[in-house]
């Protein structure tokens, strides 16, 4: 089946609007990375994943997704709501008191779609590996996906997990790193250089693919390609080149929007660049 790239692109436009409006409404949160990863998450939830929006924690016979860089919760919440896990109107509660949409994703308030808390960085790959092992023990042939920030790779636990996954042939796992080259304090190259990521992951024994993360056609193509490489003895890493703040001209080419919210004028300017395709919440 040929994926409907146009349809996915339209969803992505609406998700970007959701992100900006959520972050603006509470004047906090992380729009930059959320906007950069929008195309990936839309493709994942509306094309790739075999999943059930009637949420079940164990997710047997479903594909599972883990967000390790939990600060980009706005994009995940929008995609979960838009794909039917909960009402889109609930997006208005993001980061507000008594919300299920915590600043960083959590299971504590029982928001459907979330299987583990994340936010303290570097932990998601280990959890994804555990879930992937459980699938194998349960003779469940569905896959586990995870997303990580590039700055997050500075956390050592990631490399413990990387070593474990290849040694133990966790080949039902497709991890993706959002390579946007930015972290809170500046460009990753200036803060703590990540070096040659392809060489690093290959030397750790992973099958490495590259993806142009803000080109919906390429995202769909590479995710399909990654699936074709599962169950061949190696974990799969997609190095996803994105632009932090993608979709809003003044939020790109800077780390400034990693963790700050637009004001009223900036929001209006940004929304003017993004078509309302599915109706704002």
């Amino acid at each position: 089946m040929t994926p409907d790239i146009d349809k996915l692109t339209k969803i992505a436009s609406q998700v970007r609007r959701d992100i900006l409006r959520m972050v603006h409404a509470c004047q906090s949160g992380h729009p930059g990375g959320s906007l950069g990863c929008t195309d990936y998450l839309v493709a994942l939830y509306f094309h790739t994943l075999k999943h059930n929006t009637k949420f079940d924690m164990d997710g047997k016979d479903e594909d599972l997704f883990f967000l390790s860089n939990g600060h980009i919760s706005p994009v995940w919440y929008s995609v979960l709501a838009r794909s039917g896990y909960f009402e889109v109107s609930e997006l208005a509660t993001f980061r507000k008191i008594n919300t299920r949409l915590q600043g960083h994703p959590a299971t504590h308030e029982k928001l459907p779609g979330i299987r583990v808390a994340s936010g303290s960085l570097g932990q998601g790959m280990s959890v994804a590996i555990g879930a992937a092992i459980a699938k194998k023990l349960n003779n469940d042939n569905r896959l586990v996906f995870s997303l990580h920030g590039d700055g997050e790779l500075q956390e050592g636990q990631t490399w413990e997990a990387a070593m474990y996954a290849s040694h133990n042939k966790i080949d039902n796992l497709i991890s993706t790193v959002d390579v946007n080259g930015q972290q809170i304090d500046g460009p990753t190259d200036a803060i703590l250089s990540l070096g040659n990521l392809r060489a690093k992951w290959e030397s750790f024994g992973w099958e490495v693919l590259e993806m142009s993360g803000n080109d919906m056609s390429d995202v769909v193509r590479v995710l399909d390609l990654a699936i074709s490489k599962t169950f061949k003895g190696k974990p799969i890493m997609i190095l996803m080149q994105t632009m932090m703040g993608n979709g809003v001209d003044f939020m790109m080419h800077t780390h400034k929007w990693h963790g700050s919210a637009p004001n009223d004028d900036q929001l209006a300017l940004a929304l003017g660049q993004l078509e309302e395709t599915l109706g704002d919440y």
Partner: protein, 317 residues
């Protein structure tokens, strides 16, 4: 004083190993993980019986905690095994976020706790783990007293849904509890009924409290001794019932006096029935190399220290 005897000494970690094998046979959801300390944790029998349900993680405890959290998604009941130091302080944030806050059904099994780890010294002798773990919302904290009780606890925790910290030790200590005991989480065990002082002890200190109780009885002091194997949730009713009778308390633990059993008991007392309390615990210090017996003596955790504490606290009544 009720008479307690023992015919052999065994290490509590072997009780864990035996319990793990048994619970593995009873419940096929049970899986085990270890960070390069299989022999020390006595996990060999489980691994031999269930090789496909065992995961050697390597020297990577943070990854072990995360993988354990992930295994619960899919219905497994993971038991992680490493030293108490590496089960807690080294991985506190992983436990906090991926396990406790996420309400994951992980059993964190921690050996070589406290001073009785011995010669390896303070780098490995954690005395802060009970405090760290009991502060995590929803975490159950258990510190059984002998081989049989550790085995029973290891089996029982599989039936409790939620994170558990199970703490045990390295040296061979007297085996004096019933081999067929039913372990009830959160239920204090009355070792000896008495009227003059309540001695609340946990882990290896329970046997020392019994020894102290016998000597106190010879001196005419009738000590009530209660084994608090579950520090959280604490059996508050048992604590209050005992102090209503005795009017003073001694707490005994192989742990820093900050944050351990003593503080948990003190909180119950201050909120309900403030009575004098003395702590038999490590006085806010690190340990050092030495034999377990030498260390327990040097750091004030010996039978004589309990007797002295009882004499002090009775005078304060």
């Amino acid at each position: 004083m009720k008479k307690y005897t023992y015919t052999e000494k065994k290490d509590t970690r072997s009780g864990f190993g035996a319990g793990l094998l048994e619970v593995g046979k009873k419940n096929d959801k049970v899986v085990a993980l270890c960070a390069d300390l299989i022999g020390s944790l006595k996990m060999d029998a489980f691994i031999k019986e269930f090789p496909e349900r065992f995961f050697q993680i390597g020297i990577a405890e943070a990854n072990m905690m995360g993988i354990a959290a992930g295994l619960t998604i899919g219905g497994k009941i993971p038991y992680t095994g490493t030293f108490a130091n590496f089960s807690t302080g080294r991985v506190y944030d992983q436990i906090r976020q991926s396990i406790a806050y996420s309400d994951k059904n992980v059993k964190i099994c921690a050996s070589h706790a406290g001073l009785t780890l011995g010669e390896d010294g303070a780098t490995h002798q954690i005395l802060e783990d009970i405090g760290m773990m009991k502060m995590l919302p929803g975490m159950v904290v258990i510190n059984p007293c002998d081989y049989n009780q550790t085995k029973a606890a290891t089996i029982a925790i599989a039936d409790h849904h939620g994170p558990v910290y199970l703490r045990f030790g390295r040296p061979a200590v007297p085996v004096f509890t019933d081999p067929d005991q039913k372990f009830e989480i959160g239920k204090a065990w009355m070792v000896n009924e008495g009227t003059d002082v309540s001695i609340f002890a946990t882990g290896h200190m329970v046997w020392k409290a019994i020894e102290a109780g016998e000597k106190l009885a010879e001196a005419g002091i009738n000590a009530e001794i209660i084994n608090i194997h579950t520090i959280k949730p604490l059996d508050e009713a048992a604590v209050l019932k005992s102090v209503a009778k005795t009017g003073c308390v001694v707490t005994c633990e192989e742990h820093n006096r900050y944050g351990g059993l003593g503080d948990s008991i003190a909180q119950v007392l201050t909120r309900n029935n403030p009575v004098p309390q003395e702590y038999v615990a490590v006085n806010d210090s690190f340990g050092e190399s030495g034999t377990p017996d030498q260390l327990m003596k040097k750091y004030g955790l010996d039978t004589e220290d309990i007797i002295k504490a009882v004499n002090r606290v009775i005078k304060r009544k």
